[in-house]
Amino acid sequence: MNPNQVFINCPFDNNYFPLLKPLLFVLIYIGLVPKISETSDSGENRLNTIKKMMLSSKFSIHDLSRIKPFTITDLPRFNMPFECGFDFGIKMSNSQLYGTKKILILETEQYRYKKFISDISGNDIKAHKERPETIIKVVRDWFKLNIPNVPRYKEVWLAYNEFTSDFESILTNEGYNPQDINALTFCDIIENMSEWITEYI
């Protein structure tokens, strides 16, 4: 397993984008490499791709906050809990190889998960309250327990705001909508964040 790699399992839509961007940013800022299934080769079976990413990542972050559909007629999506269960299965399948895997679960509120997925009680579950500043704080604080030399969350939050103004300005100048999650691929977003952070730091 790569000790610098973090598998991310979260919703991929414009409503979640304001939380996904700071999540990617804080991981890159503290020296880690995010892995999302959208970065994979589209020719491969998605589940196999996710499995490979999970097998190679020491850390995983699963955001289960999207339990409620947006409208009454919508159905809730189960991809996130499914992939979370898959990851736990890998961890428990071979304690010698994967026992040291670390999994962080994100939710909107701290104890809401008990109503719909109580089996995960006792694991690392943090609430981001759907606030970008809070997602940076809880993720940074969790990694502080696991890796050395992690900067203060406030430093990351301030840097994120500066990055965001550059992100908006550059994309707008190129004719892209910076609020659109599909404006750039995740590979591009991660690469450009990495370049920006390298120069900033």
């Binding site: 500043e133 840097a159 705001n161 965001t164 550059d166 550059i170 390298t198």
Partner: protein
């Protein structure tokens, strides 16, 4: 459909943006108030209880060219252009 932009061109823009020592100040909302942040400096220049106080501090920073006020999600709410003399209130 958005036009395709060369990957390297975009990356160069991001790199340049991080390096550019623009005389900009960011007003960043936070759990403990409103931070005044000079571009490229990691720590806050000041932290104030209200946005109004933070903007006032930023206006008085020497040579500032723009003040960028951010929303709670980090996106830009508005940009105050200090070249416009009506924005200079000391």
């Amino acid at each position: 459909m958005a036009r395709t932009i060369k990957k390297t061109e975009l990356t160069k823009n991001f790199r340049a943006a991080a390096l550019n020592s623009k005389k900009m100040v960011h007003i960043v909302p936070s759990n403990d108030g409103w931070s005044v942040k000079k571009e490229g400096i990691k720590r806050s220049y000041a932290v104030k209880e209200t946005k109004k106080e933070a903007v006032k501090i930023a206006r008085n920073i020497k040579s500032v060219e723009s003040i960028i006020v951010h929303k709670q999600d980090g996106s830009v709410l508005k940009i105050i252009d200090m070249a416009d003399s009506k924005n200079r209130k000391y």
